[in-house]
Amino acid sequence: MNHTPDFGGIAERLAELGHLAHETADSLQRDQISTEQLKLLLEVSRETLRGAVVLDLLREADHRRQENETFLRIGTKLSSMLNLDELLRTIIESLRQVVDYGAAGIFLINRETNQIEADFLLGYEKSDRQQLQRKFKDGVPIGEGIVGWVIQHSQPVVVPDVLQDKRYISARDATRSEIAVPIIAGREIIGCLNLESNELGGFTEKDLEPLQTFASLVSVALERARFHRESIAKKRLEEELSIARRIQLSFLPTKMPQFEPYDLGGLNFPTLEVGGDYYDFIPITETDLGVAIGDVAGKGVGAAILMASFRASLRLESRSNYAISIILQKVNRFLCESNPPEQFVTAFYGVIDRRHHILTYSNAGHNPPFLLRNGQVIPLDTGGLLLGSFSDAEYEEARVDLYPGDIMVFYTDGVTEARNEQEEEFGVRRLLNLVQTYRDLGAMDMVRRISREVQHFECDAFTQDDLTISIVKVR
């Protein structure tokens, strides 16, 4: 059942309206319309486009919410079947029908700290419980106390008079005798089931066998709970990755725009972990094309959402008539307002004007793309700080004349920092050589060939990062 409004349809319609308003504003002569009216029209265009972007984000968020709800329903059902505390209580209470006791406790080894912790207690008075919890708050080392001895030696023990036993650490004033058996899972000792009696000689050797049976019941209950905890965690992680992956994919170009005489190509190879690489070609007007590449810090859903904000904000601002340096300043402020400073984006944004063959660009802390001309390498590194960390950052822009035969190469650090088994980095030099080698191929074929070589270089070495390359050739 899906009663969600058609966000996609509305967003599309809004975007059309926005562009229409913008075109109208463009086509009207200044003497036919007052500055106020023109301003208003541009404002309408801007707000409508902003609405379209927000709706796009909402649609994705709604999709995620629906998925999460389904998952939550399954999760709740599972946990109601497997409430560990209830299960343990049932086991320990039924034990009383076989072996009578004053108090019972399940103590388990915390594998991270290698200390013993009290996991389940029954029959302890409030003050005893506090005393015990204080004692076990930071855990008790293996080997200490009767419980610790049982765990260390993996042997059951019957103590007819606790006050005569040197191992005994008092945790409950009324206790006079004690019995304890190890809890074993597979071949590993995971803890101890311990009973206390208010009478001297409350337990005998005969009680050991039924107690051990109950200890194995406890072990099964714990294992089952652990298994389900792990499978839920695993499922959750898989869900998260698949959402992040879909967000990321939906933002990458599926088809290169036609922009003669420029030849465009671009590819992204994501890692399993889902990084935050982004590249884009943004048609702005008939004659102007935006070229963007970016790398979001971090991985997973967080990175995907940051990338979504970056893309929405860049696409929105790129349609305004602002200078590129101002566009990046605005995107930077937007990211600073909506994300903590450690979440940043490095990005390059430029506009190619095909009437005059000029690239105007600004580089916000991204690996400098380069322009190759007759064997000469020109790094495109004018700009400013990475985006999203410092709200007062300012950006410079540069203009570059373009000539037939020029090749522009944009990439993320997944390319230059790819490592082989000898821990060597791929580096800029290798990338430049490959661009020279394949310079006569079409842009898309160049991208394919080069990324294949990077992947070949990485061979079986563990891939750390997304790999993204895009190329623009001037024909």
């Binding site: 810090a297 971090g298 450690e342 979440q343 916000a364 802390g365 400013g384 700080l385 990475l386 410092f390």
Partner: protein
């Protein structure tokens, strides 16, 4: 990532070692800074001489440390950043906001 701290007069010296990859590991770093700020300390030198490798999340850790201190009216300076980190700082243009020194002594003296 391993972290050690040392006091040099009114300056807190934090040394990071190993692989700096941000994420959950950075909690320890932020805890140190938070405690230092609570004690009234405002001058921090971050010694990066023992860092083997740093990714973008690791860079995020430096940025958030820097801004945390700046927001508290203090300052964090870098010392002994490796060639690799130095080149990361140049590419991201963080070299325009971070003050970096070749030695710990130089960083300490600069306050």
């Amino acid at each position: 990532m391993r972290l050690t701290t040392e006091k040099r007069g009114d300056i807190l010296l934090i040394a990071l070692k190993g692989k700096i990859m941000g994420g959950p590991e950075s909690a320890q770093f932020h805890e140190q800074l938070k405690q230092a700020i609570a004690r009234g300390e405002r001058k921090v030198v971050l010694d990066l001489g023992g860092v083997e490798w740093m990714n973008s999340s690791g860079l995020g850790l430096l940025i958030s440390g820097f801004t945390t201190l700046r927001n508290a009216g203090g300052e964090m300076k870098l010392a002994r950043s490796t060639d690799k980190i130095q080149s990361l700082l140049v590419i991201t243009k963080l070299n325009t906001v971070f003050e970096a020194h070749d030695t710990v002594e130089a960083a300490v003296k600069s306050f």
